[in-house]
């Protein structure tokens, strides 16, 4: 009976007062709440990046003081890592799509899901408070003993924000893991799951196993500031290096928290726009798990110059090289999927191809940094900055944009304007490369990171980088404009505008509150495009 009333009723029509949205337990609405909050933080973190790039146009420190510059790159890092990249794909696209992809009515714990968003917002308020109070100057890594004993900025507030927001990702992760285990539709065995679901599952495992250690280490920093002494204090025999071990035990896996969901999205896009089964499905699934597992064993490569034992560095270096194997499997398999495919270049596909290129570049330069000898030269230079921006911004953000475009018709029921979207995607790719490729060169020539001044011979490349950043900024501002436009003016999308294979496309666009009129059954492998066409 209740089913009959919900048939033509999308989740967007189910009460539109503010209070309906703020008390919703619908995973689709919570995904929208997350998307809005995350977009806000993205542009805030982006504003800090704008300050950084303007400052670096000239060799002299003329726009920001050294302290102001330190605060700008710290808030940029804190916001972009914890308030944008880590929740971005899982909490928005993952939240919206995971139940649809496994044929469930909702996530296992809808109330916990809403709590996760509120906890995120509370953590975000701490971060905004840090910013308003006067900022924090430790860098996003909060290295001790500077953060515990010497910094006079608002470390406590910033640490509280990150401490709190950790719980929101833990809640989401627990929800995802339990949902994948218990709520799969009949016929949907583990090796029929879309790779995006595999990626979210592996990401969630990493979140559950790594985030609590970050929570511990942030608590230790906070108490060290309260007591005035603590276990990272070398004056009483404590060890500042212990902080780095505990911090990177979380923060290296955190890189995979950011990039694994992106890989999942890209697998969906490549298969759909090449109209082919993914090449080597099982290898793709196992390599996701392998990356997640190996990610826990390589944290020491952030500490090659910290004075840790040479033997430890050798082992960490070798283990870091191992990560390249599953990563390369993924890149080769995406490429092999394209081979003999009927490829079309819609905007999501452009983003996906952009991801592969940039991820490849970021990954290969990661091998440079995993080599202990080379790393001594490159540590704390712009080479490192360029490397992780290629992975996180070039990789994760490109995939996030691609995913938003791909599922936009499902989420809103409208098509976005295709030519604008292609233009933005291409602009983003070039803007990104012009911004960050010069930074590799700067790093090779020895320009250190985290300084607001630099010798004049580095100016040409820095101006190039800042010019690229302005193109990149434009390409980030375009999509919100035409996507918002399409909400009212876009063409209506049917159930499945891309003729894609996933279960989520069986539902209406936008889906009804309870997702499916009838419990769907999985009758095919994932990506059975040969049977579909």
């Amino acid at each position: 009976m209740s089913d009959a009333t919900t048939v033509d009723h999308s989740y967007l029509d189910d009460g539109n007062r503010l209070i309906d949205w703020l008390t919703t337990r619908d995973h689709k609405r919570i995904a929208i709440l997350y998307a809005l909050a995350i977009a806000g933080f993205f542009f805030l973190g982006g504003a800090a990046a704008v300050l950084i790039r303007i400052e670096l146009v000239t060799p002299a420190g003329d726009l920001l003081s050294a302290e102001g510059y330190a605060k700008a790159f710290t808030i940029h890092g804190v916001i972009m890592v914890w308030f944008f990249l880590i929740p971005s794909i899982p909490a928005t696209l993952g939240n919206f799509l995971l139940p649809l992809m496994i044929g469930a009515r909702d996530l296992a714990f809808p109330r916990l899901n809403l709590w996760s968003w509120y906890v995120y917002v509370i953590g975000g308020l701490f971060t905004l408070a840090t910013l308003i109070a006067g900022g924090v100057d430790t860098g996003w890594t909060f290295y001790t003993p500077y953060s515990t004993l010497y910094s006079n900025s608002y470390v406590m507030l910033a640490v509280c924000g990150v401490f709190v927001v950790g719980f929101s990702s833990i809640f989401t992760a627990i929800n995802f893991i339990v949902s994948v285990h218990t709520l799969r539709a009949p016929g949907l065995g583990w090796f029929r799951l879309p790779l995006f679901v595999w990626a979210l599952y592996a990401t969630s495992l990493v979140i559950v196993l790594a985030t609590p250690v970050l929570t511990t280490v942030l608590a230790l920093i906070a108490f060290e500031r309260i007591f005035g002494v603590g276990i990272f204090d070398p004056l009483i025999g404590g060890d500042p290096l212990l902080f780095q071990h505990l911090f990177w035990f979380y923060s290296h896996p955190a890189v995979y928290i950011m990039v694994l969901p992106a890989m999942g999205v890209v697998s969906e896009l490549i298969t759909c726009f090449a109209r082919r089964r993914v090449f080597g499905y099982k290898f793709m699934a196992w390599s996701i798990l392998a990356i997640a597992g190996l990610g826990f064993l390589v944290w020491g490569h952030h500490m090659f110059v910290s004075g840790q034992s040479t033997y430890a560095s050798m082992v960490f270096s070798a283990l870091s090289y191992l990560v390249a194997i599953p990563s390369a499997i993924k890149v080769f398999n995406w490429t092999a999927t394209l081979h003999k495919g009927q490829i079309s270049f819609e905007a999501p596909m452009l983003y996906a191809l952009g991801f592969i290129g940039l991820f490849l570049f970021g990954g290969l330069t990661g091998l440079f940094l995993a080599a202990t000898a080379l790393d001594v030269h490159l540590t704390d230079t712009y080479f490192v900055v360029a490397h992780f921006h290629y992975i996180m911004v070039g990789g994760a953000v490109m995939a996030y944009m691609g995913g938003i475009h791909f599922w936009w018709p499902k989420i809103t029921g409208r098509l976005y304007p295709e030519s604008w979207a292609r233009f933005a995607a291409i602009l983003m790719f070039f803007g990104f490369n012009i911004t960050f490729f010069p930074q590799y060169l700067l790093g090779m020539h020895g320009m250190p990171r985290r300084y607001h001044e630099y010798p004049p011979e580095f100016q040409v490349l820095n101006v190039l980088s800042s010019a690229g950043a302005s193109i990149l900024a434009l390409s980030y501002l375009l999509p919100p404009c035409y996507l918002l436009w399409s909400l009212r003016r876009g063409k209506r999308a049917g159930r499945n505008p891309w003729r894609a294979a996933g279960l989520e496309w069986l539902s209406e666009s936008p889906p009804p509150t309870h997702n499916f009129e009838q419990q769907p059954r999985a009758t095919r492998e994932a990506y059975a495009y040969d049977q579909l066409d």
């Binding site: 916990l112 339990v178 949902s179 929570t215 060290e224 007591f227 004056l235 505990l246």
Partner: protein, 214 residues
């Protein structure tokens, strides 16, 4: 009357097709959370182990200052409370609602007793100038020991406090007829959480009171 018939025929919460599926999901989710908690306290254990490795003598000297008698009593209190919590769950399953309420309240009271006893320990130690920071009476290594001690037992105490509130809320809701003998995931999961809090204390007790005590 209507509420009691509802309680007899519980229906699964929204995404679940059956009560059993809901129970399995709830248990699994809570175990993931407990694993997460273990890793959280694991960070303190690593910090402790590293300090002990670099300052073995100071750790032995410092652990002599912890109150073995009070700590022992606190351990007993928590162990007994965990046992009572299990009996409370069992009585609810046998539909002995009033017994279950009384036992849950007993668990809460024992939790408060634990907090009181541990608060007494803390205040004694603060009087002996064992609080890290200015005026600490002892070596640097001993400060490291007491830093971890206060932070880890403090977070454990916070967990006990949350458990006490949970037990009180459950007892009150049981009084309103909220949970049935067949279906009571909130009670089962909260009691599982209480066992973890107990287990973590046993670990902390061993590390701070028992290891290599002379």
């Amino acid at each position: 009357m209507t509420s009691s018939t509802d309680a007899c025929e519980p229906r699964p919460a929204l995404p679940f097709a059956s009560l059993q599926q809901q129970r399995i999901a709830g248990r699994f989710g809570l175990w993931l959370f407990l694993g997460n908690e273990i890793l959280f306290f694991g960070g303190f254990v690593i910090a402790y182990a590293q300090g002990r490795w670099t300052h073995p003598d100071a750790y032995i000297a410092a652990s002599a200052h912890t109150d073995l008698l009070l700590g022992g009593i606190e351990s007993l209190v928590l162990l007994i409370s965990s046992f009572i919590a299990s009996v409370a769950l069992r009585s609810l399953m046998l539909d002995r609602r009033r017994t279950a309420i009384r036992l849950l309240l007993a668990v809460a009271v024992l939790g408060l007793l634990f907090l009181g006893l541990h608060g007494k320990e803390w205040s004694d130690e603060i009087h002996e100038h064992l609080l890290p920071g200015h005026g600490f009476d002892g070596s640097g290594g001993e400060q490291l020991f007491f830093f971890i001690y206060y932070v880890a037992t403090g977070f454990h105490g916070l967990h006990v406090l949350i458990g006490v509130v949970l037990m009180a809320v459950l007892a009150q809701r049981l009084g309103q007829g909220r949970y049935s003998a067949r279906h009571h995931p909130a009670v089962e999961l909260s009691i599982l959480y209480w066992h973890l809090v107990d287990g973590v204390w046993m670990l902390l007790f061993t590390l701070f009171y028992l290891v290599d005590r002379t």
